[in-house]
C-alpha cells in the first residue's frame, strides 16, 4: 500500500503474527484514512485483537510493517506508539481501578506532559502551570464523556457503561490521531449501544478524530462506520462500505457457514 498517501493515518502492510505454529494474523494489508470511522469485524478468534495489539506495540509482528503518520513504528514499544498518536481501549476494561476517574484521565496525559523527577520535587512554576492545565483538560474530557460529576469517584465504583466511557476519556487524554476501540459496546444494552454509536459519530464529526474499532454489534457497525473490514482466520476477506460488506458472500459464509450462503442463493433465485 502507498505509504506516501498523506491521507492515511495508519497503514499496515502485510502484517503477520504467528504464535508457535498458529498463524493468528496472515499478511493483512490495511489502511485507515483520516477522519473516518473504520470497523473491523469477524467471527471470534479471527485475529482482530491480535491485529490491534500489533498496531499498538503490545505484540511485535512476525513480519510486515506498521506505518503511523508516515513513520515506521513496527516493533516500537506501546508507550512510544501512544506518544506518536494512537490511543486505545481494551476489550475487557483495564482502567486503573483504584484511581479516581480524574486520575485515570491524568495518567492518560502522561506522554503529553513534561514534568520530571527533579522539577516535580521542586514544584517549579512550569510544573504548577502544567498541572493546572492538564487538570482543566481532564475535566473537559470528563465533561465531554459525561463523567464530570464522577471525577473524584474511584474507577471501580463506576457502573459498567461509565467505565467504558472513562476508558475512552482516558484514551482521548493521550491526544490521539487515531483512536482504537476494542469492542467498546460489549456488555452494553441496546440503548447504551445506540448512545455510544452517536458518541463515536460525534468524535469523528466534532473532534475530527479517526476511529478504528472492533465491534460485534452490527447495529453499531452499520450505524456509524464509513468502511468495514472483515477478518476471518487471520485473513482479510472483505472490505468496503457497510452495505457492500453486508452482501458479500464470503462474509456471510464466515459468519453463518456455507449452507446459509447456498440457502440465500436459492431464495434469491426463486
Amino acid at each position: 500500500m502507498s505509504d506516501d498517501n498523506g491521507n492515511d493515518v495508519l497503514v499496515a502492510d502485510n502484517l503477520r503474527k504467528e504464535f508457535g505454529g498458529l498463524v493468528a494474523v496472515n499478511n493483512v494489508t490495511f489502511s485507515v484514512p483520516r477522519g473516518k470511522v473504520i470497523s473491523l469485524i469477524g467471527p471470534n478468534g479471527a485475529g482482530k485483537t491480535t491485529f490491534f495489539n500489533m498496531l499498538t506495540g503490545v505484540y511485535r509482528p512476525t513480519s510486515g510493517s506498521v506505518t503511523l503518520l508516515g513513520e515506521d513504528v513496527t516493533g516500537k514499544p506501546p508507550h512510544a506508539i501512544t506518544a506518536r498518536g494512537i490511543g486505545r481501549t481494551f476489550q475487557n476494561i483495564r482502567l486503573f481501578q483504584n484511581m479516581t476517574a480524574m486520575e485515570n484521565v491524568l495518567v492518560g496525559m502522561h506522554a503529553r506532559m513534561h514534568a520530571n523527577l527533579f522539577n516535580s520535587v521542586l514544584r517549579t512554576p512550569k510544573v504548577k502551570r502544567e498541572e493546572q492545565k492538564v487538570r482543566e483538560r481532564a475535566l473537559e474530557l470528563l465533561q465531554f464523556t459525561g463523567l464530570r460529576r464522577k471525577a473524584q469517584e474511584a474507577a471501580r465504583n463506576l457502573p459498567y457503561g461509565e467505565q467504558r466511557k472513562l476508558e475512552v476519556a482516558r484514551a482521548l487524554a493521550t491526544e490521539p490521531q487515531l483512536l482504537l476501540l476494542d469492542e467498546p459496546t460489549a456488555g452494553m444494552n441496546p440503548q447504551e449501544s445506540a448512545e455510544f454509536t452517536a458518541f463515536v459519530a460525534r468524535l469523528r464529526d466534532e473532534e475530527h478524530l479517526t476511529v478504528l474499532m472492533i465491534e460485534h454489534d452490527m447495529r453499531v457497525v452499520m450505524g456509524v462506520s464509513d468502511r468495514v473490514s472483515v477478518l476471518d482466520y487471520g485473513e482479510k476477506i472483505a472490505e468496503g462500505s457497510p452495505r457492500e460488506v453486508q452482501k458479500n458472500e464470503r462474509v456471510i459464509e464466515a459468519y453463518l457457514g456455507k449452507a446459509a450462503v447456498e440457502d440465500m442463493k436459492r431464495q434469491g433465485l426463486s
Partner: protein
C-alpha cells in the same frame, strides 16, 4: 476479630433474626439496643474496673487503660454531652497531675493526643504531622522525664532515636519502590550498604596513599586518606547509590513480580559478600573485609560556619555542646549532648525524605508509578514508558537508602559487612508492610516501632516479662531479643491476616489488597521491558 472480618466483607449483619446468629452477635445486637447513656456507663465502669486491676500490675498500664477509654468516648459522645465530657476529662487530667503519683509527661502526652483528636478534619492533614514533629524535636529535652511505659519500660534514649530515624528514612525510601510502584525489592539493603561504604571511603583512613581533605572536621595532625565533609558525602552517597540503583535496575526491572523479587534478593546477597571479601580485590584493599572500616570522621560544620551562625551549627558533633536548658516547673535540666545533635540532624534528613516523597507522590511520576502498580499493560498503552518509570522509582528509593546508610555509618563511626545481611532487607520491608504500603505516615509509624523494638523494646519487654511474670518462685527468664526474627514474623503474620493494608493504610492500597488488581501480562517477552 470477627468484627474485622464482617466489616471487611462490607456488611454489618447482627440483627438478622436467623437461628444461626452466634452468641457473639446476639450480645452485640443487645448492646446496640441499649440507650447511649447505658452504654457509656457500662463501658466506663468496665474500663474503671479494668484500669484498677491493671494498675495493680503496673501503674502506667492502669492510667493508659483509663485515659484511652476516656479519649475514645470523648470522640463518640453526641454534641450535647461534648462540653461536660471534655470538662470532666480535663478534671481527670488535673487530678492525675496534681496527685503527683503520675509523671507529668504522661499527663502532657495524653493532653496532646486528646488535643489532636479535637483538631478539625480539614486541618488535620498538616496539624498532626507538625504536632508530632515538634514533639520529636523536643524529645531530647524531656526524654529522661518520660513515664515508664507498660510492658515496654522506659522510653527510648536519644541514641535509639537516631537509629529509629535512620530506619524510618530507609523505609520511606523503600516505600517509593514497593508502596508506590509496586516493585517487590528484597535487596534494599544493597543500597544501604552502598551508602555506608561511600561514606566510609570518603571519610576515613581507608586509603592510606591518598591525602585529600575537603571541609572535614576533627582531623588529627599527620592524617592520611580521603576526608570530605559529611554534608558533601551525604549528597554524594545519595547520588552514587541512585546510580547503582539504575545500574542494578536496568537488567532486573524487565521482570515482573516474583521474578524481580528473586533477582533483587540475589543482589542483596552479593553485595555483603563483596564487602566481606573486598580486602584484596586484585591486591587492592577496598572494604577492609570482615573487620570493616572504622573509625569515620566526626560530622560537623567546621569552625567557620559554626562561628558565623553564633554556635548554632556545631563545629564538630563529637566535641560540641555545653549549653544547658532549664525549664524549672517541668523539672527539665538538660545538657545538650552529641547524640542530641545527631538526632536533630537525622530529623532534618527525614523531613527532606518525606518532603520529596510526598511531592513525588502527587506528581506526574507518582501517578505513573501507581498506574504501573495497578496495571502495567494499560499503563504502557497510556504512554508510560515502563522501564524508565520503574527505574526512576528504583533510583529514588536507592537515593534515600544511600543517604540513610551513609548517615548511619557516620553515626556509628564504622561500617561492617555484617550490617548488610538479607535480614535487614526483610526488616525494612516489614516496616513498610506493618505501617501500610503506599502511605508515608503509616510507614513512618511502622518503621519507628519496629526499629525501636529491635534496638530497645524487645530487651525491655523481656525484662518486664521476667520480673512481672512468676509462678511462685519460678520465672520464665526468657532472653526475648534472641527471638527477634520470630517475633517480627508473628507481627507480620498477624498484620497480613487481619489488616493486610497495614496500620495506617493508603485508601487505594487497601482496596487493592481486598479486591485485587487485574494485571494479567499480555506481552511478548521481547517487548515487555523495552524502554
Amino acid at each position: 476479630m470477627s468484627e474485622q472480618l464482617t466489616s471487611h466483607a462490607g456488611g454489618t449483619q447482627g440483627e438478622s433474626p436467623s437461628e444461626q446468629v452466634g452468641y457473639r452477635n446476639k450480645v452485640r445486637a443487645r448492646w446496640r439496643t441499649l440507650a447511649f447513656e447505658q452504654r457509656l456507663v457500662i463501658s466506663l465502669g468496665g474500663a474503671l474496673v479494668a484500669a484498677i486491676l491493671l494498675w495493680l500490675v503496673d501503674h502506667a498500664l492502669g492510667y493508659a487503660a483509663l485515659v484511652i477509654t476516656t479519649i475514645y468516648w470523648l470522640r463518640h459522645v453526641p454534641a450535647r454531652y461534648k462540653l461536660p465530657a471534655e470538662a470532666a476529662f480535663v478534671v481527670l487530667l488535673a487530678i492525675l497531675a496534681l496527685t503527683w503519683t503520675t509523671p507529668w509527661s504522661l499527663v502532657l502526652l495524653i493532653a496532646v493526643f486528646a488535643a489532636i483528636t479535637w483538631i478539625p478534619g480539614n486541618r488535620k492533614a498538616w496539624a498532626v504531622p507538625v504536632a508530632f514533629l515538634v514533639l520529636a524535636i523536643l524529645y531530647p529535652f524531656y526524654a529522661d522525664q518520660m513515664f515508664t511505659m507498660p510492658i515496654f519500660g522506659v522510653w527510648p534514649d536519644v541514641g535509639t532515636g537516631v537509629y529509629m530515624l535512620v530506619f524510618v528514612m530507609m523505609a520511606v525510601g523503600l516505600n517509593i519502590v514497593v508502596g508506590y510502584a509496586g516493585l517487590l525489592d528484597l535487596g534494599y539493603v544493597a543500597f544501604y550498604a552502598f551508602g555506608a561504604y561511600t561514606a566510609a571511603w570518603l571519610m576515613s583512613l581507608q586509603f592510606p596513599h591518598a591525602h585529600y581533605s575537603l571541609g572535614a572536621v576533627g582531623l588529627l595532625p599527620g592524617w592520611v586518606g580521603v576526608h570530605i565533609s559529611i554534608w558533601i558525602v551525604l549528597v554524594l552517597a545519595g547520588c552514587i547509590t541512585a546510580l547503582s540503583g539504575i545500574v542494578i535496575g536496568l537488567p532486573t526491572l524487565r521482570l515482573r513480580g516474583d521474578y524481580l523479587a528473586i533477582v533483587t534478593l540475589g543482589f542483596g546477597e552479593i553485595l555483603p559478600k563483596v564487602a566481606q571479601n573486598g580486602d584484596s580485590l586484585f591486591g587492592f584493599n577496598l572494604t577492609n573485609g570482615p573487620n570493616g572500616i572504622t573509625p569515620l570522621d566526626a560530622p560537623g560544620f567546621g569552625h567557620h560556619l559554626s562561628s558565623w551562625t553564633g554556635g548554632f551549627l556545631p563545629a564538630n558533633y563529637l566535641q560540641c555542646c555545653t549549653q544547658t536548658v532549664n525549664v524549672g516547673f517541668l523539672h527539665i535540666h538538660h545538657q545538650i549532648q552529641s547524640y542530641d545533635v545527631y538526632f536533630w540532624t537525622a530529623i532534618v534528613l527525614l523531613i527532606f525524605t518525606v518532603f520529596v516523597s510526598l511531592r513525588l507522590q502527587y506528581s506526574r511520576l507518582g501517578r505513573a508509578w501507581i498506574a504501573i502498580r495497578e496495571d502495567e499493560t494499560a499503563a504502557a498503552a497510556m504512554g508510560i514508558p515502563l522501564m524508565r518509570t520503574k527505574t526512576w522509582a528504583y533510583a529514588s528509593g536507592a537515593f534515600f537508602g544511600g543517604i540513610a546508610g551513609a548517615y548511619y555509618a557516620v553515626f556509628k563511626s564504622a561500617t561492617f559487612p555484617g550490617d548488610f545481611y538479607f535480614n535487614i532487607s526483610v526488616f525494612i520491608l516489614c516496616m513498610v508492610i506493618l505501617g501500610g504500603m503506599g502511605n508515608i505516615w503509616g510507614v513512618i509509624v511502622g518503621a519507628a516501632f519496629l526499629a525501636y523494638l529491635n534496638q530497645e523494646g524487645l530487651a525491655n519487654t523481656g525484662a518486664w516479662l521476667n520480673t512481672n511474670i512468676h509462678v511462685g518462685g519460678w520465672r520464665p527468664n526468657i532472653n526475648v531479643p534472641l527471638y527477634a526474627s520470630g517475633i517480627y514474623g508473628v507481627i507480620i503474620l498477624i498484620v497480613m491476616l487481619f489488616r493486610p493494608e497495614g496500620l495506617i493504610p493508603s485508601r487505594r492500597r487497601a482496596a487493592e489488597l481486598h479486591e485485587g488488581v487485574h494485571d494479567e501480562p499480555l506481552y511478548d517477552h521481547e517487548v515487555a521491558g523495552s524502554t
